[in-house]
Amino acid sequence: METSVTLANLEEHVDKRSPLVLGKETFASVTNTVAHPMEMKTPKAWWICFLIALSGLGVLGASIGYLFWEGVGVWGLNNRVGWAWDITNFVFWVGIGHAGTLISAILFLFRQKWRTSINRAAEAMTIFAVICALVFPGIHVGRVWVAYWLFPIPNQMAMWPNFRSPLLWDVFAVSTYFTVSTLFWFVGLIPDLATFRDRSKGVRKFVYGLFALGWRGSHRHWLNYERAYLILAALSTPLVLSVHTIVSFDFATSQLPGWHATIFPPYFVAGAIFSGFAMVINLMIICRWVFKLEHLVTMRHFENMAKIILLTGSIVGYAYAMEFFIAWYSGNPYERYIFVSRATGPYAWAYWTMITCNVIIPQLFWVRKVRTNLWALFIISVFVNIGMWFERFVIIVTSLHRTFLPSSWAYFQPTIIDISTFIGSFGLFFTLFLLFVRFLPIVAIAEVKTVMPEADPHGHDHGHKHATGGAH
């Protein structure tokens, strides 16, 4: 798939930076490339994918409908293991939803310009993943018709929610994260929506125009826009860390051995970035191939993301080891037991799946050949996400199934509805993502242009034209 030409930007030289956009791309060609999916006749392949995703969404709807009709008992939960796939899926999707905002906000603040080619898709992924995540806490409660009691809505009972409960913190953390991420994404979209508006006709023109908020590209617009974008980036940055920290509090502030650990916040954040980047790699490899974005989304992007996966995967691996060490060092018999049981007990298969996928396999990224091989990248990223799903499963279920009193040990087995709900959530995710790639710019056109040599008034500084043979 790759040629030596595209590998060119992998090398950094002392005197010059590697180009971020490859090939003979011009401003016009970038716009054309990105707008192409929106303008072309809907391809058959898109319809097929969309129908599959829609069927998945239907499975989700049917599973949830059945769940609402019958009760939470349609899942495999029991009186010892009160949470299993529901909360596992929630944390899994929230985790995936981390990469987008990290790429767009933190990397933006750190002036990591390579982010521009992937941030749009990553942010979209974030929002869709958070939507998938939000489904689960909503449907996992026993009485869904009063789930709104989780929100501090004034009521005739004069009842507030319990502010001491981490679940309530979750409600605030995740909803804030969702709101800010959506805003951030939308603000970033405005100039590109205007581009789309200008290129389309009829109803589309109206709809794009509506959301483009009258963007004309004036200097004042740009000035305000960039200021707003910066502020939102600054707002989002702490949220990237806070949301998963608070999700981890669901476990860390409880008193169950295996949950009650101070290491959880950093460990969860690292894990979330780990899984989020893996998902971005998976999605971008497909998009890049389908929409021929090889010049915009280059191997350098993948390599950078692979490095982040390698880093966060190692942090996660360290956390696993540290949990064992602390369990031993604390002298707490419950803690010790639960960790020994994780590795050797009835759920050992899940634990070792997790270790293999999260700790061992990503170590292959030490090898550059692996980091720059799209097949390897794709497969390893899939493994990372399998591993991260199992991480949450291991944390939640193995801790619950063998708690303090040996009389109350039980085993959890998922039902078909557990499985169908999880599969259905992928249906929801891909339905949204397919709509996104069809109707919205998957690459931030305006932002990419800023990292092209043409945008650089001091072209010599980055020496793009030397490396790429000139893009003017």
Binding site: E70, G71, V72, G73, G76, L77, N78, N79, R80, V81, G82, W83, H140, V141, G142, R143, V144, V146, A147, W149, L150, M159, W160, P161, N162, R164, S165, P166, L167, L168, V171, D250, T253, S254, Q255, L256, P333, Y334, Y337, S341, P346, L400, T403, F404, L405, P406, S407, S408, W409, A410, Y411, Q413
Partner: protein, 1030 residues
């Protein structure tokens, strides 16, 4: 009628006191015949109209007292009127308590029954009755559900099909009874038989005598699992005719049970347990307690609490008793020479053990007690009686009493009579021999040869379908009767409700067959007229109110035992070979949940986990881990058991591996696999009767083989654990490390001046040793602060608390499939742990720990609930507002005791739909929980609130000690549970909490539970240092 508080009976007068109101005799006469029918509309078909039912019951309650001359009368449905004048003492929605009596597991228990608006809802023990002393067992607790069993017999059957077009009314029932009586009259002259249970009811037995005089060629036969045939034979052999043994634990310092379960399924287990527990608790004051030795083939409740337990197959028990006799003779006891001679040759299973036991017995002459179980043969009972006599126990702990029952034949003898053609008419009163007998006897075939067979039964069961007539029996809460306790105390069985369906009580049935028209009330009154003396009315009122009749009936036999014929009896007995892997010993036992199968259609009992195996909804072939390993059998494997007898018997049954079963023994509980089509009993377990032999409940030479295939067994512990050994091993280790269950030996207690020191070995410490906390604890200290202690030294794991809690708190039954998924709803469960080595069966010990919500001061559940549905009450209770709960289950996850239960489905609605009468049993003071909410023990908050109202009315600020009795505390036969105000240092619960034995489970979590435990003290014999401490 009793006042709201059943301990305070003296203030109010008596049962149905409206009789007094109705001064006019004319009115009484009118009431008597006002509504002769009225039950017809209550037939349960597609679904009973509950509203209508309630209406009828509500209306009838008012007149219940007025019409006691006819028992009870219900108003017809078309005339539901409000009270014109409210009867005195009747407040709608306020509980009324009536004294009655019932027979459960062979023991007669005096009862206090709670009734709301005419609906009996709860059964408890009558504190004045010597056999219940205020407590009951699980069977009695569940009996109220039997009343509302929608599958109970509602129709007269003729040759197995519905008579009178399936529309049985009170009138047609009487007509059918007359027809059956006429048929009986035609055939009984050539030979009749009466088959019944060993019911010690003077009225019934009087009618039996009348029956005998009406039909002189009558054979009386008794078929009852509690009937002690072998013991009676043994007593006869030493000179006591028609006698029975009554065992008293009151003064017993050394108790030896040979395959006997006096604290569980045999004898007066409630009284025994009370007395036994009192002897155990004395350790706190005197540092002395009784010692219990048990020799048995599989864990009974008695065996589980034993200080020393020897695991021995049933066929070896007799040898062990003989060996003990020889040993005692060596220690100078006067044992007849031929017994000693035989004892010297006996196969002694463990000489050291028997020697130590003998020494202990001799040291406690007169204050010891030797018991032999019902499954053992007569000669074993005889030898044990010899030992008891030699020890001077007879007349003290072992009392010989004349039996109130007539001389009777066994079912096998009756069957032989039928086959001989000497029985043309057979009357069966509340027995189900077609199901509950050995195929070798061949009763089912013999029944076909009888010209007229008339059956009275609660269900249209296996026998009902095979008889020429079947009549539905009334529940004991619907009928008049009387019962004698084993010590001769009599009680009147009085009804609380008119029969829900046209039915007959035992006495009405038999009287009707004799052509009498008197109803149950008249029959019982007639029986007791002579006893009362001058003022019958006053005496009768007293009896009904108290629930006991003071004058004891029957006599204690004294006199010289004659052991001369004993030597002959011992020739050639007890020489069975040891079982092996290929030739195993099979033992069939009664079941702790369904007894002999009679409770198989009771959902509470079906779901009650067996004390040892924790199995629900099924029985299984129990095997020790060692034997199972040798045979390559695992829990859940289907095995086939084959026994060669007169004819080969086979049964395919699921295996269950459990420690404590004697090696090469397989144990099968009876009572499951019913063919009767009950909606609860269907599909539960395997019919052990198919393996039952003619004479013994144990058999040598059973072949057990894997039959291929798996079977799901639903247990409430070790849920779904495939590797049992791993789990028990790790589990045992974990309990030891965690100090969850704490146990000491008596030697430690006496040696240590302070038990705290003895407890020091648990590094996790005592609840008193608080850790440094980073915050000030907000602990409520005003007014009543509720707390509980559970004495592990008393608890026998009998499950009565679990059943009582279910009855009191409207707890749903979930069914086998949900138990398999660990979704059972019991609020109080009994954790069972094993200790000892699986390879050495004698070292295996079992312990019980009842566990319900501990109401932690700093409850982990309260902190995590996002909607504040579970919060701390001002009196220290952990309360749930079901209406606020949205069901996140976070509280259940964070509960360290795992006592919170979630309604995964709408269980209560399902229960009511499947069993349309169950709703009648519901306690109106307790909210019925909906789908999607958490529930758990509330410390019986409804009882706390009732007591609060009462004390407020009296002007007391604090509820006095004992004012609140929780359901589990009330029922406990060992008084192991104590509840009260921990704010009051003088309350009994505070005093118990001050004992050094007091500890909190998981105290190191700083959750400060309000329920604490008193550590078990094992009175190990220093000679036998086998105690494995937990």
């Amino acid at each position: 009628m009793h006042s709201e508080n059943n301990q305070e009976k003296s203030g109010k007068k008596y049962w149905r006191s409206l009789e007094e109101l109705a001064e006019s005799p004319d009115l009484l006469a009118k009431m008597k015949n006002e509504f002769p029918t009225g039950a017809a509309e209550l037939e349960v078909t597609a679904g009973v109209d509950r509203r209508k039912f309630l209406g009828i019951i509500g209306a009838s309650a008012a007149f219940a007292g007025l019409t006691s001359a006819t028992g009870c009368i219900r108003k017809p449905s078309e005339k539901i009127l409000p009270y014109n004048k409210r009867p005195e003492d009747l407040v709608e929605g306020k509980a009324q308590y009536y004294a009655s009596a019932g027979r459960f597991g062979g023991s007669v228990l005096g009862l206090l029954v709670t009734s709301y608006d005419g609906r009996p809802t709860k059964i408890d023990g009558n504190p004045s009755h010597p056999m219940s002393l205020g407590a009951t067992n699980a069977f009695a607790q569940a009996a109220v559900l039997d009343l509302y069993d929608p599958d109970r017999s509602q129709k007269v059957l003729k040759a197995g099909v519905k008579a009178d077009g399936g529309k049985t009314t009170v009138k047609s029932l009487k007509a059918a009874l007359a027809a059956a009586a006429a048929e009986l009259k035609d055939n009984a002259g050539q030979g009749a038989a009466l088959l019944m249970e060993a019911v010690p009811s003077p009225t019934l037995l009087g009618l039996v005598r009348e029956f005998q005089s009406a039909y002189p060629k009558t054979t009386i036969a008794i078929h009852d699992p509690a009937m002690r045939w072998q013991e009676a034979a043994a007593l006869e052999s030493v000179g006591y005719k028609n006698a029975q043994l009554v065992n008293r634990f009151d003064d017993a310092d050394v108790i030896v049970a040979f395959d006997a379960d006096p604290l569980g399924l045999e004898g007066d287990s409630i009284r025994n347990s009370k007395m036994y527990a009192a002897k155990r608790r004395s350790v706190d004051e005197t540092k002395k307690m009784s010692r219990l030795y048990v020799v048995e083939p599989a864990f009974s409740l008695t065996g589980a609490v034993a200080d020393h337990r020897l695991s021995l197959r049933s066929s070896g028990i007799g040898e062990c008793v003989l060996a003990l006799a020889a040993e005692l003779s060596d220690l100078g006891l006067a044992i007849p020479a031929d017994v000693v001679a035989r004892g010297k040759q006996a196969a002694n299973p463990n000489p050291k053990w028997v020697k130590a036991l003998a020494a202990d017995l001799v040291a406690n002459k007169g204050n010891s007690l030797l018991l032999v179980g019902n499954t053992q043969r007569a000669w074993v009972h005889a030898v044990a009686f010899v030992i008891n006599s030699a020890l001077g126990n007879v007349g003290r702990g072992v009392i010989v009493r004349s039996s109130p029952l007539p001389a009777a034949k066994t079912l096998a003898e009756l069957t032989a009579d039928i086959n001989r053609g000497s029985v043309q008419a057979l009357v069966m009163i509340d027995v189900n021999p077609v199901y509950t007998s050995s195929a070798e006897i061949g009763f089912a075939d013999a029944l076909k040869k009888v010209k007229t067979s008339i059956h009275l039964g609660y269900h249209s069961d296996e026998t009902a379908m095979a008889s020429s007539w079947h009549f539905p029996r009334s529940h004991f809460l619907e009928s008049w009767g009387d019962l004698l306790a084993s010590d001769g105390t009599a009680s009147i069985v009085q009804p609380l409700i008119e029969p829900l369906f046209p039915s007959l009580s035992e006495v009405e049935f038999l009287a009707g067959l004799l052509g009498k028209t008197a109803n149950g009330y008249e029959l019982v009154q007639t029986q007791w007229k002579s006893t009362a003396g001058a003022d019958f009315a006053a005496a009768w009122r007293r009896w009904l109110h108290d629930g006991v009749i003071k004058q004891t009936l029957g006599e204690t036999l004294s006199g010289k035992s004659d052991f001369s014929a004993l030597g002959q009896r011992l020739v050639g007995v007890g020489t069975s070979p040891s079982p092996s892997v290929s030739q195993m010993e099979l033992l069939l036992t009664l079941d702790r949940s369904v007894y002999d199968g009679r409770y198989a259609n009771n959902a509470w009992l079906q779901e009650l986990p067996d004390s040892i195996t924790k199995l629900t909804w099924d029985n299984a072939a129990l095997m020790s881990p060692k034997t199972a390993k040798e045979k390559g059998i695992k829990t859940g494997d289907l095995v086939e058991i084959k026994v060669r007898g007169e004819k080969e018997r086979r049964l395919k049954i699921a295996a269950f591996v459990v420690p404590g079963v004697a090696e090469h023994t397989v144990v099968v509980q009876l009572g499951y696999g019913r063919t009767f089509n009950g909606r609860v009993s269907s599909g539960t377990g395997f019919n052990g009767y198919e393996l039952l032999g003619r004479d013994d409940s144990f058999n040598f030479g059973a072949e057990v083989q894997l039959a291929g295939g798996k079977y799901d067994l639903a247990t409430t512990q070790e849920h779904g654990v495939s590797d049992y050994e791993y789990d028990t091993k790790v589990g045992a280790e974990a309990i030891r490390n965690r100090g969850v269950y704490r146990e000491l030996t008596l030697a430690t207690v006496t040696a240590e001046p302070s038990l705290e020191k003895a407890f020091g070995k648990f590094n996790l410490g005592n609840p008193k040793n608080h850790r440094t906390l980073l915050w000030t604890k907000s602990i409520e200290t005003r007014g009543n602060q509720w707390g509980m202690t559970i004495d592990l030294n008393s608890c026998t794991g009998c499950n009565a608390c679990t059943a009582a809690c279910q009855a009191e708190n409207n707890i749903s039954v979930v069914g086998k499939n949900r138990v398999l998924k660990s979704r059972e709803m019991h609020w109080i469960r009994i954790d069972r742990y094993f200790a000892g080595s699986v390879d050495n069966p004698d070292s295996i010990q079992a312990v019980f720990q009842p566990l319900a919500c501990a109401h932690c001061e700093t409850a982990p559940c309260e902190q995590v609930c996002p909607v504040a549905a579970t919060v701390h009450g001002a009196e220290g209770t952990n309360d749930i507002a079901y209406n606020r709960c949205i069901g996140t289950r976070y509280c259940a996850n964070n509960c360290p005791y795992k006592v919170r239960r979630f309604n995964y489905f709408n269980f209560s609605k399902e229960n009511d739909e499947q069993n349309p009468l169950y709703a009648m049993q519901k306690n109106p003071r307790v909210t019925v929980r909906f789908r999607g909410v958490i529930e758990k023990c509330t410390y019986c908050i409804q009882r706390v609130n009732a007591a609060r109202i009462e004390s407020k009315l009296k002007g007391e600020e604090i509820i006095r000690d004992g004012g609140v009795v929780t359901a589990c505390q009330q029922v406990c036969p060992t008084d192991a549970i104590m509840f009260g105000n921990i704010n009051d240092p003088d309350s009994r619960v505070s005093q118990l909490k001050a004992l050094p034995r007091n500890y909190a489970v998981l105290s190191e979590l700083a959750i400060e539970p309000r329920t604490t435990f008193l550590a078990k003290v094992r009175n190990a014999n220093p000679e036998l240092d086998s105690s494995t401490q937990l």
